[in-house]
Structure formats: C-alpha cells, structure tokens
C-alpha cells in the first residue's frame, strides 16, 4: 500500500481523465470489503440521522430515495442539490471511512480471515444485511424496490444457469415463476390464512412464518416438475428447439392458470400472508447465490460448460450429456420457482398476466446485460436493470427507449454482457487487501 502512493503522484495528474480514474482506483485499492461495508453503514447511518436536515438545507423536498434520480429527472433545477446530497451523504463518508480506516479494517479482516474464511463470509453478509436494512428502513418504497430487486437477482441467476452456463436458449422462466408463485401461494393460503379462496386455515396462522421456507421450496419443486415436461422432449437432440418448446410451455402454463377457477383464474390470487420480510428475502437470495455458485463450480457445473462448448467432445469424455442438461435445467427452474414464491408473497397478489412475454423480455435483458456464465454478472445485471427501471420512472415513455438503447450499446461493445465468464470467488472477496 505504501509503495503505491508515489505512483499516483507521478501518474495521476499528467494523464488527464483516465489517469485520474486510475489514480483514484489505485488509491482506494487497499480498502478491503470490510472497509467498504463499514463505509456504507456509516453513510447510511449518517443519512438516517442527518439526512433530513441536510436535504432541507439543500432545498430538497425529502431525502432522495433512489440516489436522487427521481428528483433530478422531475425537476431539473434540483439536480445540483441532489448531486450534492449524493456526494455529501454517500460518496464522501464511504470513501472517507473506507480509506481512512483501511489499515484498521485490513488488520481486522486479516484476523477474522485467519480464524475461519467461512466465518468471515458470514460476518460480511451480516454487515451487508445491516447496511441494506438501515438503508431500506428509511422508506417503504426503498424496501419494496429492494425486495423486488433481490427477487430479480434470483431469477437472473437461475436463468443464467440455463442460458449462460448451459448455453441453451430457454424462454420458459415466466412459466416456472408462475408455477412457483401459485404453488407457494396455495400452500400458505390453504394452511395458514382464512381467506375466501380456500376458507378457514387448516393450521394455526401463527405457525405460518416458520413454514414459509417450506412453501418456497414447494414452489421450487413445482417449477422443477414443470421443467421436466420440457426437458424430456427437448434434450433428446441438440438445436434451437428448446427455445420454442419452452415458449410453448409458457403459453400453456398461462392458459392453464387462466382456466383454473380454484386459484382465481384471470382475476388472480390475492391476500397472501405478509411473510416475505426483508431478512427472509435476503436470506433466500444469499442461499440462492451460494448454492448456484457452488453448483456451477462443481464437477456438474463444469460438465455443463463442457456440454455447451462441444457436446460430442463432452460425450466422448464420459459426460452423460442428457442427464447433465436435465439436471442443469431442473436446477435453474427450481430457483425460478422459489423466486416466484417470494415474488407472490412480496406483491401479495398474483395473476397470470404477470407472467407473460413482458416478464420474459425483462429477465432475458437482465441476464444478457449482466453477463453470461458469471454469478456477479447476474447480480450486477439484475440490480442495475431493476434500479434503472425505478429510477427512470419520471421519464414515462422515454424510459422504454433509454433502457433498450443502453442494452443495445452494451451488446455491441461487450457482446457477452458486462461481466461475463468470470468465477465468483467469495473468499477472495473478503480477504484483506495488503
């Protein structure tokens, strides 16, 4: 860290914009993840206690809820204030805390890492949760956006297993999501709620929260079962037929639910219990990332990659290609179903129209924007598209010109997405930086 500083002075100012950025990066490169998280928590706490005063001082109507994007787009005269808020409340505290306390956190991170890398990961996750919780606690709108974003992360990752790691083109994710959403909703509604669809609760409603994970898993299995219907005919041969079989499957699921009066038909199914709290959604998302990350790094995951790159070669190397593809596909579908179950309990209403072509376009966009074959790519893709979708709300119609344009540009300059074909090494991430 010490030997990096002279480099900055010689390199930084002379090379203009890019040099500045490089200097900036290397100046902060010594900050470990722990430091960044601490910085974020500090910033969020700062916002929590002084945000109101600062925004009033800057002439903002309220604390900017999504990094000031909405305020900026709605009233151009407020752009400087919103930017000032952003810099003052987020950037400066994060950078300051991160950089100033870097030695401390590096030492700390090293100590914890030595005890057990696993423990270090858990600690980081706890801190991340704390930061998100404090951030989202300030406004219900933030909370809502955060929950939907986390669900989007799960969906994107699960589709990346099929479209990225396996190299097929599947269009049935909205269908899997619908199966999961309906299965989980029916489970909680039948057992734990008094509602007009299924009458009295069969079990005591107070137990519901503890059984909620069961509902989500059930949703996952329902989706995996549906995936089996596609997998059996489509993995007999190689080609683009999965694309239409899965598309046909999506139409079938939607039409089926529309005809099932028991679950409300096109009117939808409402009044799901409010079980999907932030810790629950966060926990499931982390679990999903962890399991998928382990899956794609396992032998089976590598076999998937081999099948994608050259099926006959993989076959010759004793990979059971059909079984591998089936497992990968069902696995992806399972997580899509789980995400659907969470989605239903966050929105607390599902209807078949939510799982149509529009949703398909959205999920596909997230996967390819973030990057194929990469876990952090998916996270980045899902988070940025979800947040962008919310932040550009004031633009109304033009939102749907700007987002697609952005995606086209990304596709042209980085055809496989922003961060593609990279391994997600959690342990590397939590290491001290010296």
């Amino acid at each position: 860290m010490t030997n990096q500083q002279p480099e900055i002075q010689s390199n930084g100012p002379s090379k203009g914009g890019k040099g500045y950025f490089k200097a900036f990066r290397s100046y902060f490169s010594c900050v470990p993840m722990l430091g960044w998280l601490a910085g974020i928590i500090a910033a969020v706490l700062f916002e929590r206690f002084l945000g109101d005063q600062i925004s009033e001082l800057l002439g903002l109507p309220k604390i900017p809820v999504l990094f000031g994007c909405m305020i900026m787009l709605k009233d151009f005269s407020l752009i400087p204030s919103a930017l000032a808020f952003l810099v003052g409340v987020y950037f400066i505290p994060i950078l300051l805390v991160g950089r100033a306390l870097a030695p401390v956190f590096n030492g700390l991170a090293g100590m914890i890492y030595k005890i057990s890398p696993m423990f270090s990961v858990v600690l980081h996750l706890a801190l991340l949760y704390l930061a998100l919780h404090l951030w989202a606690d300030l406004s219900a709108y933030r909370l809502m956006t955060l929950k939907f974003t986390l669900v989007a992360v799960m969906l994107t990752l699960s589709l990346n297993v099929i479209n990225g790691y396996m190299g097929e083109f599947s269009c049935s994710h909205p269908g899997f999501m619908a199966l999961g959403a309906y299965a989980a909703s029916v489970f909680t509604l039948v057992l734990f709620t008094n509602d007009r669809f299924f009458g009295e609760a069969l079990l005591s409603p107070s137990m519901g929260v503890y059984f909620f994970p069961v509902a989500i898993i059930l949703g996952g299995f329902a989706a995996a079962l549906g995936a089996l219907v596609i997998a059996i005919p489509s993995f007999r041969t190689r080609g683009d037929y999965l694309a239409i079989i899965s598309l046909a499957f999506m139409f079938i699921v939607k039409s089926l639910i529309e005809n099932l009066e028991v679950v409300g038909g096109p009117r939808g199914l409402g009044s799901q219990p409010n079980y999907a709290s932030l810790p629950m959604v966060f926990g499931w998302t982390v679990l999903c990332i962890w399991v998928i990350n382990n899956f794609v790094r396992s032998t089976l995951g590598k076999a998937l990659n081999a099948v994608r790159d050259d099926e006959s070669a993989a076959d010759a190397m004793t990979v059971n290609t059909r079984r591998t593809k089936m497992v990968g596909f069902l696995f992806g579908a399972f997580w899509a179903g789980a995400a659907g179950g969470l989605f239903a309990h966050i929105l607390r209403y599902v209807n078949p129209a939510s799982f149509g072509l529009q949703r398909l376009a959205e999920i596909l966009a997230m996967v390819y924007f973030g990057g194929l074959n990469s876990v952090h790519g998916s996270i980045v893709g899902a988070v940025s598209i979800s947040l962008l979708g919310e932040a550009l709300r004031p633009l109304e119609l033009f939102k749907w010109i700007i987002i697609p344009l952005l995606l086209i540009l990304v596709m042209i300059f980085r055809p496989t997405g922003l961060i593609a074909f990279k391994e997600f090494n959690v342990k590397q991430l939590v290491r001290p930086r010296n």
Partner: protein
C-alpha cells in the same frame, strides 16, 4: 359440414398472416442463424406504414386530385409499405445486427428484443395512444356459398399471400441472389470466402423479410382494421414458433407451419371449449416437436451454437 368449411376459410386467412411473418423469421434464421426477435414489431411498423400510406392516398383520392379505385390504392399501399419497411429492415440489420455478427447468437437475439421495444415505444410516442383505424380501401362483399360466408377480402388476402410466397420461392430458387442466400444458409463461414458479399446478402435477407412483414401488416389492416403499437408482440412470438416448427430456413416449411398454426388455433377453438384454446393448441405443438424435433422440413443438423 358448413361449419367445417367456414372454419377452413377462416383458418386460411388467419394462417396466411402467420405464414407471411414466419417467412421473415425463417429467412433470417436460415441465412444468418439468428433469432430476429424484432420481427413481430417490424410487422407492426409495416402495418403502421401501410396505414399512413393508405390514409394519405385515400385523402388524395377524396380531394379529387386523382381518381383511383380502391384496389389500386391497396396495391400501391402494399408496394409502398413493402419498400419502406424493407428500408426499416436494412437499418435494423445495420445498426443492431451487423456489429454483432461475430458475437454469440443470443446477444443478437437480445438486441432484437430491445429494438422491438424501441419500435413499440417509438410508434406509441409518434402515433399517440389511440389506436389507428385502417381506412377501408375495398368495399366488403360477402358471398354466401351454400351456407359458408366468404368475403372478397378473405379471398384477396389468401391470394396475395400465396402469390408473395410463390414469388419468394422463385426468387430464392432461380436468381443469382437467391442462390447466394441459399449458399449462405448452407455454410455461413465458407461461402463469404467464395466471393459472396456477406453483408449485402444479410441486408437483402432482412429487406425481404421486412417487406413480407409489411405486406402482412397491410393485409392485416384490411382484415382487422384496428392497429395498436403492441400488436406485434404476440404475433411475433407465435410466428417464431411457426418458423422453427417449419424447420431451419425452409421456405415451404415456414409457410406450411404458419398455416398449420392458424388451423390449430382456429379448429381448437371450434372443437374444444374456447377458454382452453392456448392450452390445447400449444400442447399439440409440444407433442409435434416431441416426435419431430427438427420441425417438418428441417434436417437433423449438428450446427454448433456460436456461443
């Protein structure tokens, strides 16, 4: 029996739209191995272009500057719309697909999806929220043939689409450019080395596909005179199903599959409770693909995905 024949007539009309749109999909898919997901929206743009051309022409005719009968206006509209939409197709290929020629196929598919959204939003922004009413160019005449009602529009639509399909078939089989396209479809990497200009062929493929979509859009306007900016989405995806069902790059296959899809949708609604239409119709397609995984005319190819 009259019901059967009546539905047959209906299905012919409905299927010809699927077939015309599926042809565009199939050509791009055959020659460039790409899913052109913007194609449904290209169809929509074609319908809107025809709407504008037709409205302008009828306004001219009404103003008395030129006295032209309705069917001439219709013919002019189809030709103009096909040409204009071909330009739209070429622009889309140039902007959205050419930079991605070497990229994974799926990336190009996503670009197509996004171009589609831009087209939808753009048309919504330009044309406004109200739906467009396609001017009635020819007077609708209903003939009663033994209890089966046939309109002159239906006959015209089926005839025009069949003529277009035959023309395309002849073009691909007989002309130099058509041969180059078939060669490209046969081997994408080697043929350009033989002196076939790949970029021109790609642009030509898009132009023809978009032109066919425009003719479908114009005929659609005649048969179902209500246009809205989102009408291409469902059509596009269903024609995509038809295109692949027909087999890779097979013109005959795409045509037949388009008609088949129309027949399935119409007859399923007729025989079964119509609420279950999509469920049964797509289950049938699922079954067909289970037993003929390469479509009707596709050959089992081991083409590697360029991922």
């Amino acid at each position: 029996m009259t019901v059967f024949f009546q539905s047959l007539v209906n299905a012919l009309q409905w299927g010809s739209f699927y077939a015309l749109i599926a042809l565009g999909y199939s050509m791009v898919y055959g020659v460039l191995m790409l899913f052109n997901f913007a194609h449904g929206d290209v169809f929509m743009v074609g319908a809107y272009i025809s709407f504008i051309v037709a409205t302008a022409l009828t306004a001219l005719a009404a103003a008395g500057t030129i006295a032209i009968p309705g069917w001439v206006v219709l013919l002019l509209t189809i030709v103009c719309a096909m040409m204009l939409n071909a330009i739209v197709g070429i622009i889309i290929e140039r902007v959205g697909y050419r930079p991605l020629r070497e990229a994974p196929r799926a990336s190009a598919a996503i670009t197509g999806l996004m171009i589609g959204i831009i087209l939808e939003t753009g048309v919504l922004a330009i044309m406004g929220a109200q739906r467009a009413k396609f001017p009635s160019l020819i007077q609708s005449v209903t003939y009663d043939v033994g209890g089966v009602f046939i309109t002159n529009k239906k006959i015209m639509i089926v005839l025009v689409s069949i003529v277009l399909m035959l023309a395309l078939d002849q073009f691909v089989k007989k002309t130099k450019w058509g041969m180059a396209m078939r060669a490209m479809a046969f081997d994408y990497t080697v043929v350009p080395l033989m002196g076939v200009p790949a970029n021109v062929i790609a642009a030509l493929t898009f132009a023809i596909g978009s032109g066919l979509a425009a003719s479908a859009g114009c005929l659609f306007g005649v048969a179902y005179p209500v246009l809205d900016p989102y009408m291409g989405i469902v059509f596009g995806w269903k024609a995509f199903v038809a295109a692949i069902l027909g087999g890779r790059g097979s013109i005959l296959g795409a045509t037949l599959a388009g008609f088949l899809l129309g027949f399935i949708e119409i007859f399923v609604a007729l025989i079964f409770p119509s609420t279950m239409r999509d469920f049964i119709a797509y289950s049938i397609i699922l079954l067909i693909l289970t037993f003929r995984p390469h479509g009707f005319f596709g050959e089992p190819h081991s083409a590697r995905l360029r991922l």
